[in-house]
Symmetry: C2
Subunit: 676 residues, 2 copies
Amino acid sequence: MKYILILLFIPFLSNAQIKMEKLDLMPWPQNINLKDGTFTITKNFKVNITGNPNPRIFIGATNFLRRLDGRTGLFLEQAFITKNNEFPEAELQINCVRNGKVELNEDENYTLTVSANKIVVNATTDLGALHGLETLLQLLQNTSTSYYFPMVEISDSPRFIWRGLMIDAARHFQPVDVIKRNLDAMAAMKMNVFHWHLADDQGWRVEIKKYPKLTELASDGYYYTQEEIKSVVKYADQRGILVIPEIDVPGHASALLSVFPEIGSKVSNEVTYTVGRRSGIYTPTLDPTNPKTYLLLSEFFDEVCPLFPGKYFHIGGDENQGKEWDANPKIQEFKKKNGFASNHELQTYFTMKLIPMLKKHNKELMGWEEIMTKDMSKDAIIHSWKGVNESVSPGGSLVAAAKNGYKTVLSNGYYIDLMLSIQSHYLNDPIPKNTVLTAEEKARILGGEATMWSELVTPLNIDSRIWPRTAAIAERLWSNENITDLNSLHKRLKTISFRLEELGIMHLRNKEVILRNISNNQDIEALRDFSNVCEPLKNYKRNGGGKKYFMFSPLTLFADACTADAFDAYDFDIAVNNYLGNKNIENQTLVTNYLRKWILMDADLIKLSVNAPLIQPLLPLSKNLKDLSEQLLIGIENKKKVNPDVLNGLLEKFNLRSPADVEVAVYASLKKLFQE
Amino acid sequence: MKYILILLFIPFLSNAQIKMEKLDLMPWPQNINLKDGTFTITKNFKVNITGNPNPRIFIGATNFLRRLDGRTGLFLEQAFITKNNEFPEAELQINCVRNGKVELNEDENYTLTVSANKIVVNATTDLGALHGLETLLQLLQNTSTSYYFPMVEISDSPRFIWRGLMIDAARHFQPVDVIKRNLDAMAAMKMNVFHWHLADDQGWRVEIKKYPKLTELASDGYYYTQEEIKSVVKYADQRGILVIPEIDVPGHASALLSVFPEIGSKVSNEVTYTVGRRSGIYTPTLDPTNPKTYLLLSEFFDEVCPLFPGKYFHIGGDENQGKEWDANPKIQEFKKKNGFASNHELQTYFTMKLIPMLKKHNKELMGWEEIMTKDMSKDAIIHSWKGVNESVSPGGSLVAAAKNGYKTVLSNGYYIDLMLSIQSHYLNDPIPKNTVLTAEEKARILGGEATMWSELVTPLNIDSRIWPRTAAIAERLWSNENITDLNSLHKRLKTISFRLEELGIMHLRNKEVILRNISNNQDIEALRDFSNVCEPLKNYKRNGGGKKYFMFSPLTLFADACTADAFDAYDFDIAVNNYLGNKNIENQTLVTNYLRKWILMDADLIKLSVNAPLIQPLLPLSKNLKDLSEQLLIGIENKKKVNPDVLNGLLEKFNLRSPADVEVAVYASLKKLFQE
């Protein structure tokens, strides 16, 4: 339906352009020339690799075959690709000029040509070729009985060299299989930096062989062995992804200090530190005046750095409010003696001491924007994260860093844990068109990074917080800045979201698991309908103040099944807009079908709740939606105004804070119906 | 509805017995005394542990809290349990007399008492206590607003000491996370032996540090590092599960011989071995006359044995047809020289040479029944697997072994890869009532083991092949031999199946993933309906002769979404039986609702197939079901006989071999309707 409308509204599309609309490519390539004709896939379809690639392309091409086979059910004959030029006559030819290195600034370009009998991927490096294979998989089309690629010429390259995803494995530990499946999804979206947040107040997650107590006492048994980290780094490298570890210091240090209280900043006769069990900002901070602080950190770095071949090491540095420093006379004296005017200057002193420890391992320091003070080394990368929530201009530090001569990466606007709408992330450009920066300054803006802070995510729901939304961020960072059409985004994202399942992403399937749990093994249709119009509370309003949930609590509630960008909310809004534009019977029916569904849904939820305590908190919300739907239905079908007092009263109740920690996401659309 | 019927038919149930019917315990405990009254769970609910347990009970009790919390959403306050007697006043008291050891014959008994304000689990060892916690979780009940345990006294102990599951990680590799989630499910079903099939024709899956080529050349990159194996063994130990490794020799050796062709039995000038890419029995066999064979095996065992603390090592020994031995004059000569009358005797010679290699590591040898020849050591455990498919009496070797003085384990009848009905496994008793064995002989029958051969399973569908069916086998091996009621089994299994999800088992969620893939991202309701009456072909009829599928092919077809014991087939049969017993309108409607559903489903599938090539092969099957449903509907609703020629014709077509490799599982029920 929507597709037809789009065509009607855009009458100047050529035939090729119309076909282009069918392609669910993401991130959208830089240049695409779609042609008439197709390449049909048979079970004899084979791949051949030439040039001087890194062997990762063999694994990538083998995985390509398996994924193509999984979709088509053809039982493709080619087994594991392990060397160059095995099938010179193969239909798909991949040529890489040279071995790619997984690091920033590496050449990731590729060209892809599909003709009737041949497909060619050309790239300088295997990293570019891997991107080309992802594009090719996204091109797959089908008739009712067969699969094909459309004939096309694509040349493609990234806009930014840093297209990252951070996963916080500290607050809620995320096992290796969770990390690996997310690396697969990142690769599918042509992302190239995985930032691994490995230590925070709530846990120390990396094995330090010299100090086994760290994980014995500060991880609850949930940590990565060094072997596991090596396997993740290898897995990432095979997918062209650079891994940046983060050990967050000097704040966010409760877990570390629970094991080494002697390097904490508390005044010594009151020293007790414990692993954080809740959300929120904790005060425990390393003592920058204590030589042992640096000795220990240096020993940790000596073990952690060699696990990560990349050039960058993230030392956090954020949210140190300096409370413990202010309260400690010894530290105050140190500040005075050294002429530090502020805690910021003291923190810079601390951070600068880390630089040689990292240099020893050929690593540059990266940190959250708080590390950017006047004495900070220009080799550091500044990670811009603050914005409206922190009462500063969004990503202001990004511009400041670029002007100050720092390389910088944007995360403000990409905080996917805030549960904001996808469009807020999608339209958040690291270099907006109105930016007043020199070319040199712009070049210092490396790109951006989605941040998956894990206060409210476990292995069960994390995928639905990251995906498919991060695909939109990936497109912002890869594609041309003019690719901003929201209808196109939403349309393509439906396919992308579906396809992420083949990589093991669990966002769709685990939602059903949570709904089954809530339903107490009853039919989940009504719950599914409701979850498709509800969204978890945004901007950290859920679990207000970190009071209710412990970090060890499972997250198996309705809010965990719901996601930002509620599945039906966007479509309902389009239906409402269409109806308000033209009240023909088709448009009316689309709207009233939703209203009827929600009325029935409420009755079903009431029935289910008799044997499902976890449904009880949803009933008031569902009742509000039903009451409003009933009134609007009467109004629409009887073509008459309903009592505005009644409607106003209903609307008022509608989005009162619910104990279910969700909000109904069709409020604005319903209001439009009511107001007209 | 069913529940009411059961009550009507069993009028002598007491009030407590009626409540007992509500309990979905599995395996059913030996003694259970249900009382009036309940224990209500609040967020303050706490656990306390006393006695001298192994620390595994701390992990088990912590996991118990997390699972209880996940179901109830209470945000229980107790964090990680790490020591004895933390909360002496806790509501749940667990007392273990002594440290349990994960080995056969260890005490696994427990008692569980729920009273109004206190719950007590008493056990000799922590292994028994873990079982008690699983029973307690299964007792969880709810009102519409709260959760409780019914007051009860249970004393429980296993009937057999070997309650095993084998997973074949050779034909299709199963990553560590797949293994671990299955260990969790095993523990929930009180199973205590995990048999890990690590090498076969299609792959060598265990790292041998001295010979890295083994996994480099014969695993396609899919193998377990020794670190990973240790982590699995530790994980299993924490759950009271003994791990038995299997390296299958002298047959099933293609992968091994592809790396070490010099120890194969082929005549030397024609030596080539390759890793098997298909199903079926391969001929490559180790050369029992070559000293290097024993040298290498001994070196492998020296690395593998220390990874497994248990007392047993499985050396396979099955399906050596001796073809390569017969064809090799040197081996024939060796046989003659040593006076071996048969290949069996030669194989015994081979197997006996392994015994001291294992003894060196304090391991006893275990093997499939072929190892049982007259000279085999009585210390060996005989694994009975052959039956009707192999043209011998089912599990005959079990009785023979027991009579011959061997300890023995039954797998015939527990081949879950055959996709047979759950009742065939459930009613397969290792010691049937009519067994004529002495008490001493019976005592040699250690128990049984479900075998998940992996020709047709990948990480995507393996859980749905193992679960929930293996729960029925677990009950056979744990519970009293008189617990055989199929209605009760099916009723309880619905809850058990649902609850397995909380342990990470993916049988339900991954089915939806496959259906979404087949549907090409369209609505899957019709596919779901159809999958609920279809079953994969049984007895290895799927992928006939191993011709179509490669071991590297993904398995993402309709047959992979379908399972044995099709979800609606059992319920439909009950509906048909009820209708035939009493043709009142309620009973008729239940039957006709199914028929109508299948008629609509066929129309929906046709619609979906326009954009989903993978649906095409299902349409003939669906049409048959629709045609038959239409005829039966006319007959039932018009109370008239339909033309028997028409019906016969439809029935005849009904179960013709389908290219979709599934069969419609309501054939017998439909035939009943037709015949009456």
